[in-house]
């Protein structure tokens, strides 16, 4: 069965089409790059997949199941996670608590056992803390563990956003410009970590990325959007040579 499919997906904001009749299929475990000039509809597509904006047409299917009618938290519960372009961090909580919040739907100790601090709640919290610490370690965030997230610079928050999203153990993870605000070195490290974790856990990645060098090295396949429409799809090498892409997107980047 197809792992994840977009079937003629359209997103419209007040008569303006952000995404037009987009169809694409993602294989389980693949790393897909989503590229296109500013305003091409990349973030709108991620918002539509995660249920934050309604579709004006088409269907989104996860393992054959239509998910576009579901509430955002239900879509997340099916294993679709995301990070945010401008980070949506729980700013007045510590780095550790942010990541532990990511584990929310995997913690089985509920209201009553927590209220009374029953052994099951104690054990659950200890396990959650341990798992969160492992992720902090992986993303080099350990030294910020007890720092309130709002006090940290953007580049570190991007890493935290990623660590928190992975804590939710997604099967499909949507990354919205995961390396923006990072130095080249930081970006390379972060991408290597994310890719390693994704491969280990068989997580399918859909990555929006402006840094062409990063995305060409990372992605198995690329989907190129322009004005909300898919203009090309294929391996990085195929897409790179596509005249439509060069015209619409890479052509603008000659100075980069």
């Amino acid at each position: 069965m197809t792992f994840f499919a977009l079937d003629r997906v359209s997103v419209t904001f007040g008569g303006v089409a952000a995404v037009r009749e987009l169809s694409s299929v993602l294989e389980q475990g693949e790393i897909r790059g989503l590229i296109g000039p500013n305003g091409a509809g990349k973030t709108s597509l991620i918002n539509a997949i995660t249920g934050l904006v309604p579709l004006s047409g088409g269907r989104i299917l996860l393992e054959g199941r239509e998910i576009n009618m579901l509430a955002p938290h239900r879509i997340a519960a099916l294993g679709i996670g995301r990070t945010f372009q401008h980070v949506e961090i729980f700013t007045d909580q510590t780095v550790l608590i942010n990541v532990m919040t990511g584990l929310h739907r995997h913690l089985s100790h509920g209201l009553c056992s927590s209220a009374l601090m029953l052994p099951v709640a104690r054990r659950g919290e200890a396990a959650a803390r341990e798992e969160a610490e492992t992720l902090l370690e992986a993303f080099n965030l350990r030294s910020y563990r007890d720092v309130v997230a709002g006090d940290l610079p953007f580049g570190i928050l991007k890493r935290l956003d990623l660590a928190r999203a992975l804590a939710a153990r997604p099967r499909l993870l949507l990354l919205d410009e995961p390396t923006s605000g990072m130095s080249e070195v930081e970006a390379a490290e972060t991408i290597a970590t994310a890719r390693g974790l994704a491969r280990d856990r068989a997580i399918t990645l859909l990555v929006i990325e402006h840094n062409m060098r990063v995305i060409m090295a990372l992605a198995d396949r690329l989907t190129v959007l322009d004005h909300g429409e898919k203009i090309a799809e294929g391996t990085p090498a195929q897409v790179q040579d596509d005249p439509l892409v060069i015209d619409a997107y890479l052509g603008d980047q000659t100075d980069a």
């Binding site: 249920g51 919040t101 209201l111």
Partner: protein, 324 residues
């Protein structure tokens, strides 16, 4: 670790040993302060942690007070059963109020809760045969196996452990997945949703907890005062509960306790100033808000930072290292 245990022991000893030395009126004030702590804790979970404005905390207090009193007076139920039942009834109304709250935020939510407050007041006033209406009704002192908790000291010794228990439950909840989901929806609804947290369910739980605490506080308050009437539970009372948590510290359990205690004792301490007492109270309130926007609990870290800055003049502030 040892020093914190010592702190708790000292605190427990004070809570147990000091009250017998107090006079009747002082004990009455202490008991009221305990009830206010419960009100503040519940409201702070809802407003400080889950980020939901409520102008009807006093209505849940009223529901708890009337449910508890009516069950004991009209149905002859034991106070010890009626008190938790009153809390549960209030929590049920909290869930009902959460239904519109799921779709409303900010001013609109504030107005909806104000509407709920008015409805509660009207319901109490319009059924005088049951509730005593605007003239109120006598709330009997609780009894246990025929022994009446007649004195304020006896009441203190049953209220204090209940309040300590409720504070511990709140602490446990705030350190649990439920507590983290409260802070998550206050900080960012889309981020919370992306992690599988339902904002609707989270709001429902927060309203239920605030209402449960206010309901139990209502039952306890009725037992202390010995009388209930709708005027006690008006908008003014709700606003007073909000000042508890704002002055104490939003989203902080310690803040709820400190705010409720300070603002209950302050008017008593200012009594000597006679006609100036209200003026000084208001001035102090404004001073707290201007100089301590984080609440009284923000005072500790502020002082610590001042001291640290003294020692490390000219050095850049590194992020604090985790204990590993």
């Amino acid at each position: 670790m040892r020093s914190t245990r010592l702190t708790w022991l000292v605190l427990a000893a004070l809570l147990l040993a000091v009250p017998p030395a107090l006079g009747t009126y002082e004990l009455y004030v202490v008991n009221i302060a305990l009830v206010n702590i419960v009100l503040a804790i519940g409201l702070n979970v809802l407003t400080g942690n889950a980020g939901q404005i409520s102008l009807c905390n006093s209505s849940f207090m009223a529901i708890g007070a009337y449910a508890c009193t009516l069950l004991t007076v009209r149905l002859g139920l034991s106070f010890w059963l009626a008190l938790p039942v009153g809390g549960v009834v209030a929590a049920a109304f909290g869930c009902v109020l959460a239904l519109p709250a799921m779709r409303l935020t900010g001013f609109y939510l504030a107005l909806a809760t104000l509407g709920f407050l008015e409805i509660t007041q009207i319901m109490i006033e319009e059924f005088p045969d049951i509730t005593g209406g605007i003239r109120g009704m006598i709330a009997p002192r609780p009894t246990l196996f025929g022994w009446k908790f007649g004195s304020d000291l006896a009441l203190y010794y049953i209220i204090m452990p209940i309040v300590v228990g409720l504070a511990l439950v709140a602490r446990n909840l705030l350190r649990s997945p439920v507590g983290r989901s409260f802070d998550a929806i206050r900080n960012s609804v889309p981020a919370a949703q992306s992690l599988g947290i339902s904002p609707e369910r989270t709001k429902l739980i927060a309203f239920a907890i605030a209402a449960l605490y206010a309901g139990i506080a209502g039952g306890l308050g009725a037992a202390i005062v010995g009388f209930i009437d709708p005027v006690e539970y008006g908008a003014g009372a709700s606003l007073r509960h909000i000042t508890f948590i704002v002055v104490g510290g939003m989203g902080s359990l310690l803040g709820s306790i400190v705010g409720a205690v300070v603002l209950t004792l302050l008017p008593e301490l200012l009594r000597g100033l006679k006609e100036y007492s209200d003026f000084v109270y208001a001035a102090l309130l404004l001073a707290f808000l201007i100089f301590l926007p984080q609440g009284l609990v923000g005072l500790g870290p502020k002082l610590a930072r001042l001291r640290r800055n003294d020692r490390t003049v000219g050095q850049t502030l590194e992020p604090e290292r985790g204990t590993s």
